[in-house]
Symmetry: C2
Subunit: 477 residues, 2 copies
């Protein structure tokens, strides 16, 4: 496909950098002729495939994968008043099949509660059917009227992993909320993406939920990106959709439910958190190509070098690495540029001198260069990847910590959110939230903060001076 030329904007200019890296690193093509819909380049889809492979493995430990229809009849969709109110401006409606008008319009799922829960009502009979923990990875749709942005604000979310669980008691559902948060934390750990958890204010929870705990990361421009949500649904939906079970005494009881989701924003986070002025930087766990081999061809030993490179490729493939041998007839510098842009974590260079000394030169995407013993190359790479992962995660945590400021006044909060996130005490009232939001031009993101990077405490609300708890104030995507 088209090769990019010219320099990537510096990452300090984050918005420009983000837009450009998407096509220069062949992640998304934004030229699809409908606003808010984008095309995955194969390379970008490769990142998605590996990241969702990790997510699937985590989910499959104690969830089962399934698949429900995209189209939801308006009649089912409208049953849950609070829920539909949260989505009514955002739903795409199918009104025609061929040239005929449909009797009942069909919604493109914005999320699948109203598709799944009528079936749960049929499936769940007894306490022995519980807990039920299912998930699906599907496309969902939002008619976004705001500015759209690839991977972040979409009209077709192509990769929505949504889980829907059913439990006998409220306590078990609350435990599931915690289990889901732990699972999401583990997922983002694998991606080396540091996160902050917080409980959303009541006006910002999922429509129909008792409460919502969200997973956020902080982007390079200091704005937060919500990259996961876990909702405690209580018995709200089970009463609407009649999801009941017979308990051990033979009595019918309403079930308790949770749901939780992660989208391709997870990929936006990986790109944004780790990337640098030269392009993507990918942890090996999500890199479609983990190792690129560049033969250094000089003079007369061309065939020997190419054959040594091919041998190396085959050994590494055998060891389970995804490897690309770049034997194109180009100058090495152009190859380095190409693979650095795409975030390949490790480049191996092999030339006549390396063959003579039985070594290989390894250069990480962040520039660390080591000579590896050719015989121990597999172990050498594994150990470089482990270190590289640690390095990326530490750097990301440090960058995130630097973007969090503990503040004691509205003025300090207003100043802090210009370049990051403020942590302040807030009493929990909507009135004070409005004051804080007006004074800072930012949002109350959430309370009950959980993060290694923030120490939480009680203290006076920065708006009214009443009793408050630590709360995140942020500009958000």
């Amino acid at each position: 496909m088209e090769e990019s030329t010219g320099a990537l904007p510096r990452k300090d200019d984050f918005s420009q950098w983000y837009n450009e890296i998407l096509w220069r690193a062949e992640i998304m093509d934004v030229r699809y002729p409908v606003k808010g819909l984008y095309v995955w380049y194969p390379y970008g889809f490769g990142i998605r495939k590996r990241a969702y492979g990790i997510l699937r493995d985590l989910m499959d430990r104690d969830h089962e994968e399934t698949l429900f229809p995209l189209l939801i009849p308006k009649t089912e969709f409208m049953k849950e008043a609070e829920h539909i109110k949260g989505f009514e401006d955002e739903v795409y409606w199918v009104t025609h099949g061929g040239t005929s008008e449909l009797d009942v319009p069909l919604a493109l799922r914005p999320t699948s509660e109203t598709a799944i829960y009528p079936m749960y009502s049929l499936w769940i009979r007894s306490h022995t059917d519980l807990p039920l923990k299912l998930y699906q990875i599907v496309n969902t749709f939002r008619y976004e009227t705001k500015h759209t942005r690839p991977l972040i604000r979409l009209r077709e979310i192509t990769s929505f992993k949504e889980a829907h669980t059913v439990h006998a008691t409220r306590e078990e559902a609350e435990e599931q909320v915690e289990a889901a948060l732990a699972l999401y934390k583990e997922f983002y750990d694998a991606l080396c993406v540091p996160v902050i958890l917080s409980r959303r204010p009541s006006w910002d929870k999922f429509p129909g939920a008792d409460y919502t705990v969200a997973v956020d990361t902080i982007m390079p421009d200091g704005k937060t990106l919500q990259i996961g949500t876990v909702h405690m649904l209580g018995d709200h939906f089970s009463r609407t959709y009649d999801i009941t079970y017979e308990d051990a005494n033979g009595d019918q009881q309403y079930a308790y439910q949770t749901c939780y989701g992660i989208s391709e924003r997870s990929i936006a986070a990986v790109i944004s958190v780790h990337g640098d002025d030269k392009g993507l930087v990918l942890p090996s766990a999500v890199a479609p190509i983990e190792v690129v081999i560049v033969p250094v061809i000089v003079g007369t030993r061309r065939d020997e070098v190419l054959s040594a490179a091919a041998e190396l490729e085959s050994e590494l493939k055998g060891a389970g690495f995804t490897v690309k041998l770049d034997d194109r007839d180009m100058r090495p510098g152009a190859k380095y540029y190409h693979w650095e842009m795409r975030g390949v974590p490790l480049r191996l260079e092999i030339g006549p001198r390396d063959i003579d000394s039985n070594t290989v030169v390894a250069v990480t995407r962040t520039g660390r260069k080591v000579k590896l013993d050719r015989r121990g190359v597999v172990e050498g790479i594994s150990s470089i990847f482990a270190e590289f992962r640690g390095e990326l995660f530490e750097a990301a945590k440090q960058a995130m910590a630097d973007r969090i400021t503990v503040v004691a006044t509205l003025e300090e909060a207003a100043s802090a959110v210009k370049s990051g996130v403020a942590v302040a005490h807030w009493c929990g009232s909507q009135e004070c939230a409005e004051k804080i939001e007006a004074a800072t031009d930012a949002s109350i993101l959430g309370s009950d903060i959980r993060s290694d990077l923030v120490t939480v405490s009680d203290g006076p609300c920065i708006a009214c001076g009443g009793k408050g708890t630590s709360t995140l104030i942020a500009r958000t995507y």
Copy 2:
């Protein structure tokens, strides 16, 4: 979930059998409140996951996976006159976003040519970009007005694997058609599903294609099920969507294209070809559970048996098998019924006597019983699975061969298609096709037959007596 009770209809009564096995074996739930849309049970989705894993591995050898949007603007969709004519009565239209009417209605893809090819026009510049071989696995939509049937005739095809390739020359595109057919054959071999390939008559080819070669299997009721199609598109779409490349001489050339697809009909084929009066029969390659362990608990050695069963489970999991230990407090007969219905290829029974003699009793889904040495159990199972696979495939081929009759007259053809497929000589004219179809109440499926089960030849057309070639006549799903 709900456990089925009562007997499965006999497979001779295929239509009833098919409908009932879908819910009794927990494959699809047909109670979703929109006609033609169905819900995958987790168990059924497990079969789909394994089968599509095989397909992905085959595709990934020399294709790249990608993802294009579901929604296609009417303006793009309408560009290809012949193509749209083939689909215009079947397209779902999104006309509203929230409460506003959209400026341009959006089609739910019935297939993705019109979504993908405008992007190919941007991506392909030079002969060095070719060949381009991409695929995606997506949901597609058809507003079916005919009778719908789970996995076979759907309004939402949930699992459409479509590939779209671009080549410099017509010859290379034709070679790709052959490569795709070989790949599909390999896929169905892995599923132990025998197939017949044939070239569709011109009026039955893909709208916009030069020609279509289809992959069919024969269902137990003698009707054929089309389970894969490969289309030679020529330069038809490249001229409409302006897909050109600069050749080595610097001249602009139109590219040649192919596309080919497989849907969840592949799962319908596995179910229908192998199942029997007791339920599903799954080759281990697609079984969500390959081995079920049933501890035989008698008298006082309960704990010892359960612990031996758990040890066996853990050893088999370690060896890479998907294993279920069924230690429910139920009589063994009920457990056998449960897992036979779900097609688990192998049941292991372990009780006090087996512990004493250091053996395990293995029973295949088709009833072959062997005693395995406990120490060599992993090798024993691998060898049983290899034999089981051979047995299933041979039985399926034999059943298919029995449903094919070579005929020499219209009367013989009419009789043969009552219970299977007729192979007759046909001259290729539409007039004779109409005569044959009227006389047999069946369809001309295709010519240029390729199958180990059929010997092809030239001979007099059974309608006009003119020169004809071997042609399939069949009732079709």
